[in-house]
């Protein structure tokens, strides 16, 4: 490789070129996203008079305020119900779907392709589709309820029901990705291990618990992180589906933040919510990595 290059071109290749190639992405990402997070941290520590650009430093007052605000407390509770509902349901469904697709391998190739469909649909379109599915008069769910003689249910005008619908819609939208990740994990497990276990007389459950699950732990962590992360930050499906209603019953932290910023123009409180949301993301990602990625497979 050294042959035929003059000293200057070697110098250029070794010293300058890497930075020339890397700089656009790093400068762009750091310059915009890094700066944005800096702005948010600063805003969250200041108080701005309405529409003013210069504020006064108030330390952690905004955070203290937030925790004393009932609407914020409500958004935290709603967020945790929404996120853990999605993670539990999504993980169960991902396991069922990934294992069935894996067991059937090439026989189910078409279904493997179809699995990602909900993930590809926009949040707004998914919200429209789910709003129609649970429509009181024309929705499929109430159609089924009526046909078995039950009373139709008001899905989106009742708080608890709306939260259930939003959680279901979110699970539907994001669990295809965790399914594909688990499927990837199942496919890299050495098939000889299964055969060896079977020869030793292990049954299906034993094989699953003692071979599949341990070897899957990295992929399990990735799937969990994906489901948690996507749910904590879900906006594009809830906002068009319920807009946080009825009466804040589905107002997760991301929606509360949006409402503070663009409804009440309170950017310092909104920034504080944003920082807390980022901290939650980070906390759960690290937690799952610690729990499940303890060994390199």
């Amino acid at each position: 490789m050294k042959l035929g290059f003059s000293t200057t071109s070697v110098h250029w290749r070794k010293r300058v070129l890497p930075y020339a190639l890397v700089l656009p992405s790093t400068v762009f990402v750091l310059g915009i996203l890094g700066y944005a997070i800096g702005v948010a941290v600063k805003d969250s520590l200041h108080r701005y008079p309405m529409l003013a650009t210069t504020g006064t430093f108030v330390g952690l007052d905004n955070y203290v305020n937030l925790f004393q605000t009932p609407n914020f407390q409500n958004s935290v509770v709603v967020t945790f119900v929404f996120v853990f509902g999605t993670v539990i349901l999504g993980m169960a469904l991902s396991f069922v779907l990934a294992l069935s697709l894996f067991n059937l391998s090439t026989r189910a190739r078409l279904f493997r392709t179809l699995t990602l469909v909900p993930y590809l649909i926009s949040g707004v379109a998914a919200a429209v589709i789910w709003r129609f599915l649970f429509n009181s008069d024309a929705g499929f769910v109430n159609l089924v309820l009526r046909s078995i003689g039950a009373d139709p249910v008001k899905w989106l005008s009742d708080g608890t029901n709306a939260l259930i619908v939003v959680t279901l819609a979110n699970t539907w939208k994001i669990f295809p990705m965790s399914t594909v990740l688990l499927l990837a994990g199942l496919q890299v497990i050495d098939k000889d291990l299964y055969d060896a276990a079977t020869v030793d007389g292990a049954n299906g459950t034993q094989v699953f618990v003692h071979i599949t699950l341990p070897l899957l732990s990295n992929y399990l962590a990735t799937s969990l992180i994906w489901l948690t992360f996507a749910s904590f930050n879900m906006f594009a499906i809830i906002f068009p589906l319920t807009a946080g209603g009825p009466v804040r019953a589905t107002e997760v932290m991301a929606l509360y933040m949006y409402r503070l910023a663009f409804g009440e123009l309170n950017f310092s409180l909104a920034s504080a919510v944003m920082i807390l949301l980022l901290a939650l993301n980070l906390f759960f990602s690290l937690l799952f990595i610690r729990l499940f990625r303890h060994r390199e497979v």
Binding site: M1, R15, L17, Y19, L21, V22, F28, V29, I32, L33, A36, I37, V39, A40, D43, L93, L97, S100, N103, L104, S105, T106, R107, R112, L114, L116, V117, L120, I121, G123, V124, A125, A126, V128, I129, W130, F132, L133, N135, D137, A138, F140, S147, W172, L181, G185, V188, G204, F229, A230, N233, M234, A236, A254, Y258, S271, M274, L278, L282, S285
Partner: protein
């Protein structure tokens, strides 16, 4: 490359000596798979069927599952709406510009991260990769403040900048992993033959990395085509409106919800992404798995 969705020969699992639980497992798998497909596809199919119905028909009791006649009226109404070409053009324009910019920046960055050794490499890589964990909605508030300060509210520039910068981390991540999985010898022989870097990239690296590159393209297109929080927050003029934004506004513009029309609009907006995905489905899943498991 080892992590592709590799096909297993069906014959191998049909050997008569296989244990009974395997055969039973397959039967159960079919049952579960059927249930899962119903759950996956029913919401879409129900909305899709309604696009052929009239707005009176969907409220008729008892509700019929299939439309009385397959009429394309709703599709004609959506597509011939005088503002529809504008929304479509905006969405296509933003998607194409963002994807081209993202790919150009990310391919070279990923190549340097995968192949070259230079001071501060790990730190710089971290700076690009950590924001992968920062979702769009969480930066919408400070980005809005920046865009206002720069006087870029209601401009394509604001959307293109924010779309591109949020697409780069994912693209660099996947592409770095993909480039790393390609053996070095291949390009080194090209360099010895006197090929320039961009020639090697175009003729050797990109073709070999095609599944990963395609996956990144499809995902960037999907992100941009579907994007909602940014366009909602950074624009309010109808001239910049994209298809998802218009779909969101649909319920407000009509007194009573015309469900067949709304669902038709939804189907029209998601169709291009689904078509693109189905064409490249195999590469896309391979690419996700290649890039995502590290």
């Amino acid at each position: 490359m080892r992590l592709t969705l590799k096909r297993q020969s069906p014959e191998a699992t049909l050997v008569p000596s296989q244990p009974a639980f395997k055969r039973r497992a397959r039967a159960i798998s079919w049952v579960l798979l059927t249930l899962m497909m119903v759950w996956l596809l029913l919401p879409v199919v129900w909305a899709f069927l309604s696009t052929f119905k009239t707005s009176i028909e969907i409220y008729r009791v008892p509700v019929k599952i299939l439309p009385e006649s397959f009429s394309w009226d709703n599709y004609v109404r959506v597509v011939t709406d005088e503002d529809f070409p504008r929304y479509l053009a905006n969405t296509i324009f933003l998607t194409v510009v963002t994807t081209v910019l993202t790919m150009f920046i990310s391919v070279w960055g990923a190549y340097a991260f995968a192949r070259m050794r230079f001071p501060f490499q790990q730190v710089l890589l971290l700076f690009v990769l950590v924001p992968r964990l920062i979702p769009r909605i969480s930066v919408v508030v400070p980005l809005y403040r920046m865009i206002v300060a720069l006087g870029l509210l209601n401009t394509y520039t604001a959307l293109i900048l924010t779309y591109t910068v949020t697409s780069i981390p994912f693209a660099v991540w996947i592409l770095t992993n993909v480039f790393q999985s390609i053996p070095r010898e291949i390009e080194e022989s090209a360099f010895i033959d006197g090929a320039r870097l961009w020639q090697t990239m175009l003729r050797i690296m990109l073709p070999i990395a095609a599944p990963g590159v395609l996956a990144v393209i499809v995902f960037t297109v999907r992100e941009t085509w579907n994007e909602f929080p940014f366009v909602l927050s950074f624009t309010n003029s109808a001239e910049l409106r994209t298809l998802p934004y218009q779909l969101f506004l649909f319920r407000d513009t009509l007194g009573i919800e015309d469900w067949p029309l709304i669902n038709t609009f939804a189907v029209v907006t998601i169709l291009p992404i689904l078509v693109a995905y189905f064409i490249f489905a195999k590469q896309v899943t391979t690419g996700i798995i290649q890039g995502a498991v590290k």
